[in-house]
């Protein structure tokens, strides 16, 4: 079974037409991969579907705008994978 990072890297590669081998756990979705907010909607849709979750994008954005979090915490892919794992675990615990 592929890792969460591998799955989201594949989703990003297919959704945004970015070569898969340029996407690493350290890649920042916005700063390094140049993904804009519209493409990120597409990615969020695919991730939500693939993992059966609802990524709280609005909450994350608000936290960044309020200075309570950095974009790195959510948009560096290894961190995004960790957030997704947390959401999946929380969903499993609540099921």
């Amino acid at each position: 079974m592929s890792s969460t990072f591998d799955q989201i890297a594949t989703i990003i590669a297919e959704t945004c037409d970015i070569p898969r081998d340029t996407i690493t756990p350290e890649s920042h979705a916005i700063d390094d991969l140049g993904i804009d907010s519209l493409d990120f909607l597409d990615i969020a849709f695919a991730i939500d579907k693939a993992f059966g979750i609802k990524m709280p994008l609005e909450k994350w954005t608000q936290e960044v705008n309020d200075g309570k979090a950095t974009t790195e915490q959510y948009f560096v892919l290894k961190n995004l994978a960790a957030r997704i794992d947390e959401l999946v675990a929380a969903k499993s615990a609540g099921a």
Binding site: L41, A44, F45, D48, K54, M55, L57, E58
Partner: protein
Amino acid sequence: MQLDYFRLIDRIVELDLEARTIVVEAQVPQAHTIFEGHFPGFPIMPGVLLTEAMAQSSGWLLLGVTRFERMPFLAMVKEAKMRGFVSPGQLLTIEAKIEHEGSGFAVTSAKARVGKELKCSADLTFRQIPFPDPSLRVHMDAVANAIGFPLQAMTP
């Protein structure tokens, strides 16, 4: 349809918030200047307007689901297929369904028919944001009333 006001939807036939579906009707006008250019001797509804009609249908569904708390703005059109010509005077029946409700966005699928014949379909993505201006909310309330938006469907 009131094409000059970009109001593509005439009537909400059915709104099922539990099933996340809507059915609307849209009467294509018998005559309009659009048909003089699109096309001379062969007037048909432009595909962009059919897409907009599917988007507005989806939009009313999303407004119902969010209880008019969020205004949906069209962000993405995928798999838009114009499957047959739509002529002046025809009555479109448009069905839309929510495929996914994300955080600040939603994805719908929509189909438009004339009679039983499928004329077009598309997958649509919307950003959903709080109403950016109170006058827009007032306007949407007025249009909702005009097209028979079933407010009772939103009561628990």
